[in-house]
Each structure stands twice: as structure tokens, then as C-alpha cells.
Amino acid sequence: MKAEVVAAHKGGMWAWLFQRITAVLLILCLALHLVLTHILNIGELNYGNVANRLAHASLTAVDIILLAAGIYHALNGLRMVLMDYWFGSRRWAVALSIVLWVVGLAAMGYGTWALWPWIS
């Protein structure tokens, strides 16, 4: 348990803080995301029906927040795990961060593009 608390600070203060902020965002938005996808009955799942459900701007707003918070939380979590085993030295840790930022920003762009037919 002590190891959990100590290890949580190794990735840097801002990463630690943002990991908590995105965690809370994810719990709230994910709950909304799941409740809406379960309660709003759209019948058969297909492009048209999903598009109708996502036509509301508030839903796509939740999805964009989920996308950003999810990617940050996922990649920072991955970074914390990798740093425990292979990227312990400072130089490798920096290289890992840069690679993950590139992957993250690309995923954010690609994810927004994926949602685009329902945004516009």
C-alpha cells in the first residue's frame, strides 16, 4: 500500500494532478455515456440510428470530453506502468513522454475526425 502511494508521485506533479482530474471527469462522463446508451432505446444498432442519437450537441460534447480525458488518462497510466519496468532513467522517461504525446495528439485528431459525421 505504501508502494502505491509513493509510486503515484514518480511521474511528476502535474501528471499526478491531471491523472486525478481526468479520473473524476471520466467517472462523471462515462456514467452519463453509459446511462444514455442504455436508456435511450434506438432499436437496432446501425449508422442511421446511432447518428440520430448523437445528433444532440450535448452528447457529442460529452464524447469529446471523454475522448480527451480518456486518451490523457490512458496514455499517462500506460506511461506510469512502462516507467516501472523499462523506462526508469530520466532520458528514456522523457523520450517515452514525447512519443506518448505524439500518439495522444494523433489519437485526439483521429477520434475527433471519427466523431465528425455526427458533429457537423
Binding site: 502505491e4 503515484a8 486525478r20 467517472i27 432505446n41 446501425n46 475522448l67 475526425w113 471519427a114
Partner: protein, 130 residues
């Protein structure tokens, strides 16, 4: 130790799922075709058809379980960061697990209702909400 290990494992699984989810969603852009009945179908539609399949529903339920475990154990960690319940961390862990099981039971109810009746429990019809 087990809580920590499961937290890691579930986290890594969810990273994989997140990227799979983004790719599946982006399929709306690809492979639109017209079938023999003159209907437009796409990669996206064939994927969505699979997601209504019982196997996919059960996998979804497993996913909800993994998400709930990760979320509730994460809440416990945030509480510990604030210095709440460090001494009672075992009790808090089991309280979190109880909440996880309760929430999972709710989702299991919805999933099995859907598997049996082929509609969700909140709506009596399969009419499209537009």
C-alpha cells in the same frame, strides 16, 4: 498487492479498449457500399450488427465489470491521496468492491433483459427514438 495488480491489468486492458473503440467509431467513414436490395450498408453497420449479438452483450458486461473495478479502486486511491481512510484502507476497498458488484448487477439486469426480450427494460418497443 492484488488490488494494485488488478488495477494495472484492468488499466492496460482499458487502454487497449479505448483505442479499439476509437477505431470502431471511425469506421463510419469507411467502406460504404450498396447491397443487392439497393440499401446502403457499411463496415460500420456490419460491426454494429455484431454488437447486438449475445456474445458481444456478454463481452460488454465484462467490460463494464472491468471499468467499474478500475473506477471504484481509483476512487479509493484518490481518497487515500486526500488522506482519507489510509488506516481503514481494507474496509474502504471492500466497500468499493460492494459498490462495484451492485452497479454490475444493475448492468447485468439490463444485459440479460435485453438478451431475453431483445429490447431494453426502459422501453417496450423497438421504435427508433429520433
Amino acid at each position: 498487492m492484488w488490488a494494485w495488480l488488478l488495477f494495472r491489468a484492468s488499466g492496460l486492458l482499458l487502454v487497449f479498449y479505448l483505442f479499439a473503440h476509437i477505431i470502431v467509431t471511425s469506421m463510419s467513414h469507411f467502406g460504404v457500399k450498396v447491397n443487392e436490395f439497393g440499401e446502403t450498408t457499411s463496415w460500420y453497420d456490419s460491426l454494429m450488427e455484431f454488437f447486438d449479438h449475445p456474445i458481444a452483450i456478454v463481452l460488454d458486461l465484462c467490460l463494464v465489470g472491468v471499468v467499474l473495478y478500475h473506477a471504484l479502486n481509483g476512487v479509493r486511491i484518490i481518497l487515500m491521496d486526500f488522506g482519507v481512510g489510509i488506516k481503514q484502507h481494507k474496509i474502504i476497498f471492500w466497500v468499493c468492491m460492494a459498490i462495484t458488484v451492485l452497479c454490475l448487477a444493475l448492468f447485468a439486469y439490463v444485459a440479460f433483459y435485453f438478451l431475453i426480450n431483445e429490447v431494453g427494460p426502459w422501453n417496450g418497443t423497438t421504435e427508433v427514438v429520433s
